[in-house]
């Protein structure tokens, strides 16, 4: 059983790389793989994935703001029968970053993509209904999860948190004071 699982993961990774040559696959653990593709190949990769694993279901979609108008979008997909989690990653950029929608392949992702749009401003091409879901009308187009959306900094002070700081350099021998 264990043996055939390993071949399945390897086969899948080989097949994805064969169909979409720009895809970079990485095995994270025995039950997880990560696939990184350029934004224009997402659709092709997703279609290959669905053909290979028909029972794979969409778990969630997330965005990450990498600042300077660069974003990462990731889809998390889970196959019950093969016990395999696939994390599909891509990078998009520009003031209106655009990527193909996968919500027709996995309808369960329709709301998750809509949420990513309203919080990050990532346009999903081919999405049936990109409209506000959780936010109120006054936050339309403000994209609150972007790092440029400034929150009330008082709350940060309240949390008593210092910003990340680099590691201290090793202590240099101070010029010794001669007394």
């Amino acid at each position: 059983m264990e043996e055939c699982r390993i071949t399945l993961t390897q086969d899948l990774m080989a097949k994805l790389e064969e169909q979409v040559p720009q895809a970079k696959t990485k095995e994270l653990t025995k039950t997880r793989i990560e696939v990184e593709v350029p934004a224009n190949q997402v659709r092709r990769l997703a279609e290959t994935l669905q053909k290979t694993l028909p029972d794979i279901s969409g778990e969630t979609v997330s965005g990450v703001d990498l600042t300077a108008d660069k974003y990462e979008v990731l889809w998390v997909l889970w196959s019950h029968s093969q016990k395999l989690l696939v994390i599909l990653k891509t990078r998009v950029d520009g003031p209106t970053p655009t990527v193909a929608s996968l919500s027709d392949l996995w309808p369960g992702l329709e709301w998750a993509e809509r949420e990513t749009w309203e919080f990050f401003g990532v346009e999903f091409e081919g999405h049936p209904n990109l409209d506000l879901l959780l936010l109120s009308e006054d936050l339309r187009g403000k994209y609150p999860l972007r790092k440029s959306f400034v929150i009330n900094r008082d709350r940060v002070k309240e949390a008593i948190v210092a910003p990340p700081r680099p590691k201290r350099p090793p202590k240099e021998a101070s010029p010794s004071k001669k007394t």
Binding site: S57, T60, V64, G108, A159
Partner: protein
């Protein structure tokens, strides 16, 4: 002649059975043709808040997403932080975490049984489960000092150790609940008036459920054996022996059957497999790093309602706060599935609340 015009009405947000969201219902006669759930009234922007709270404060935000599941909800976040920090927790911690997560499952499901009965207009069923649930909350109160927001999970362990007194109390209270389970079978699926409202209502096939990303007892109610405790074991579930509880047909009644079986399974796991094998040792790692290295992790557990996940990313070395946290909650997908279930079959207005109740939607978890 009855006019066949389409009517639009609002169901919620102030309707007592709809806890904080609204449904725009389009009907012909009393047959529903379209529903549009409007969510977002509980949106508290938890994901943004987590970006300016330290990772030690993070679990407290998580347990406020779903009040009932407070003992289980922070687990994915805590596990993801431990993965990033590359810290292995002691075996006793894993056992304690598994036990409290199962206790959370039992009391959430018991409470759900009561509210589901009340939503269907049978108020006599509300108070019995509510009273039984108190026995679990008593355990939480004695363990942490708080019934609902216990702040129990911390990165690297748990806040308080199990004493002998607590273990005795868990055993005594769960044995009481075990005696009550036959009553649940009798007053819920065994009652003809319940069957009338739930049998054949809100059918959801296994294929549709997988397509819509539905998980947990709603998927198991469609006779599917997917359960993260078996499929992708975390904590100590790989050492436990249990059958995945399922329901037969995928209707509202089957989902209820799956949930009552789930209570039985969890009781059996805690009483017969977890408590007797609880190892000695530390209840926390000695020193958890105060600052995190750069990295990312996606951890998930089988929550009460389905797959609970947390994606955590730390961008800079030695930072105290995560750069980005994505919270995956099952109710978010179930709310989308709710629309599909109603529209895919002949549903009458009175069935909406039966379908809503049987899916165990928790709106605060949808909105985050």
């Amino acid at each position: 002649m009855v006019s066949m015009e389409e009517t639009t009405i609002w169901y919620g947000p102030q309707h007592p059975a709809i806890h904080g969201f609204a449904l725009q219902v389009k009907m012909v006669g009393d047959y529903v043709v379209e529903v549009n759930p409007r969510v977002g009234m509980f949106h508290r922007s938890a994901e943004k808040v987590l970006e300016f709270r330290t990772f030690q404060q993070g679990p407290l935000i998580f347990e406020r997403l779903s009040m009932f599941e407070a003992m289980a909800q922070p687990l994915p976040f805590v596990m993801a932080i431990e993965q990033i920090a590359d810290v292995e927790v002691p075996e006793r911690v894993q056992y304690i975490r598994t036990i409290v997560a199962e206790l959370a499952r039992i009391h959430t499901l018991i409470f759900w049984l009561g509210t589901f009965g009340a939503e269907l207009g049978q108020f006599y069923t509300l108070m019995w489960p509510l009273r039984d649930r108190e026995y679990i909350l008593d355990i939480f109160e004695e363990l942490t000092g708080s019934r609902h927001t216990p702040s129990y999970h911390v990165p690297g362990g748990v806040r308080w150790d199990f004493s002998d007194k607590i273990i005795k109390k868990i055993r005594k209270n769960l044995e009481y609940i075990q005696k009550r389970v036959p009553t649940y079978w009798r007053i819920f699926p065994g009652s003809p008036s319940f069957k009338l409202r739930t049998q054949g209502i809100g059918l959801l096939s296994r294929e549709d459920a997988i397509r819509l990303g539905i998980s947990g007892p709603n998927l198991k109610g469609a006779d599917d054996r997917s359960d993260l405790r078996k499929d992708d074991p975390y904590l100590v579930y790989d050492t436990l022996d249990f059958e995945v509880p399922t329901g037969p047909d995928g209707d509202a009644l089957s989902r209820m059957v799956a949930r009552i079986r789930e209570i039985e399974t969890s009781l059996d796991l805690v009483l017969n497999q977890l408590l007797p094998n609880l190892p000695d040792g530390d209840f926390r790692v000695e020193k958890f790093p105060a600052r995190l290295p750069a990295g990312e992790a996606y951890a998930r557990i089988e929550g009460v309602r389905g797959i609970l996940g947390a994606y955590v990313r730390v961008e800079e070395d030695r930072s105290q706060m995560p750069y980005r946290v994505k919270i995956r909650t099952p109710s978010f997908n179930h709310m989308y599935g709710f629309k599909h279930i109603i529209e895919s079959q002949e549903t009458r207005f009175a069935d909406i609340v039966a379908i809503y109740g049987s899916l165990d939607l928790y709106v605060a978890e949808v909105d985050r």
